[in-house]
Symmetry: C2
DNA sequence: TTGGAAAGTCAACAAGGCTGACGTAAATTG
DNA sequence: CAATTTACGTCAGCCTTGTTGACTTTCCAA
């Protein structure tokens, strides 16, 4: 019997998996390239982008919630949050129900930067979707979701779904 | 005329694009999680993993080639290569044709670590492919490739393709 | 033979992770 | 009501991995 198999959709060689791994690596670089350029103009980094993104996504979110989504220490997050608050991009309000909590909101200035970053990233994503074709989008999302750690998948699915 | 449209494969709302962006973010974290854990055991970081991966992928590659693929400064790369060479994971041989060049090869020890890292990452990728189904894999790869910067896509396609 | 490419090295710096320790206010629990 | 826990902020110090700039050595090629 011949053990060799034809490349197929079902059987994936280590080499084919490796191409997927490399695709993920190179694509992520493209994914972050446009925001990185914008952030540099303002003297911010990816950490600031992540904070802006998730505060925009969940207005009024507290620090603990952000820590869980971002998986960083509070010291790391605090450094970023502090500069965003000082620079007037984020508004930190004492919680109404629980006064220990701080509820985070984007100011107009913060919304403006978030919008600039988001539009750049959406443009890249839109172009990639267009080039790959509509059927590809489903597969893309399915594989990405399957690749997440369960905890992160939970967070991902908790964020409001537009579908 | 009604401007509202039904969600479809062809028309993507900003919200749907945002979900794609978040999927990319969370998935990349899963993608790097297993190697990160392994690297920590040995006191290495992602930079070491990247060097090991691409030296394994293109045995005998020189520094300039690695710099182009990794898009870092030679000072950054050098620091990583130096430790890998000192630790006996990488063998740096003076070029035969051009003696200015250094051709990089993995030692047995280097191959062992690379294999451990690669297998962990392939396992994650294999599981994601299995969960998402065979049709999804095509789309996944197509979107990722479309998302790359042209320079990186060139590098990606230059690496030996198993298909 | 000389200019420039390739490689390596030193120094200094920054972003953004981390740990550990400590303080304060507010909520919760016994 | 007292004690404990929770949420948050902050200080100090460390690490990895990126950066720029300057400088040297080697050595190929015009």
């Amino acid at each position: 019997m011949d053990d060799r198999r034809e490349p197929s959709l079902l059987f994936l060689t280590d080499e084919q998996l490796k191409k997927g791994i490399e695709a993920m690596y190179f694509a992520y670089r493209g994914f972050t390239a446009d925001p990185d350029r914008i952030l540099e103009k303002y003297g911010y980094g990816r950490a600031h982008h992540r904070a802006l993104h998730f505060i925009h996504r969940t207005p009024g979110t507290n620090v603990n919630n952000l820590l869980a989504i971002l998986s960083v220490t509070k010291q790391s997050l605090n450094r970023v949050l502090r500069t965003l608050i000082e620079d007037g991009l984020v508004d930190s309000r004492v919680g109404t129900r629980d006064k220990r909590e701080r509820n985070m909101y984007l100011t107009e200035k913060g919304q403006a930067l978030e919008a600039e970053l988001a539009e750049a990233q959406r443009a890249r994503m839109r172009a990639a979707y267009r080039d790959a074709g509509p059927e590809a989008v489903q597969g893309f999302r399915q594989v990405l979701e399957a690749m997440m750690d369960p905890d992160m998948r939970r967070h991902f699915n908790t964020l409001k779904d537009p579908d």
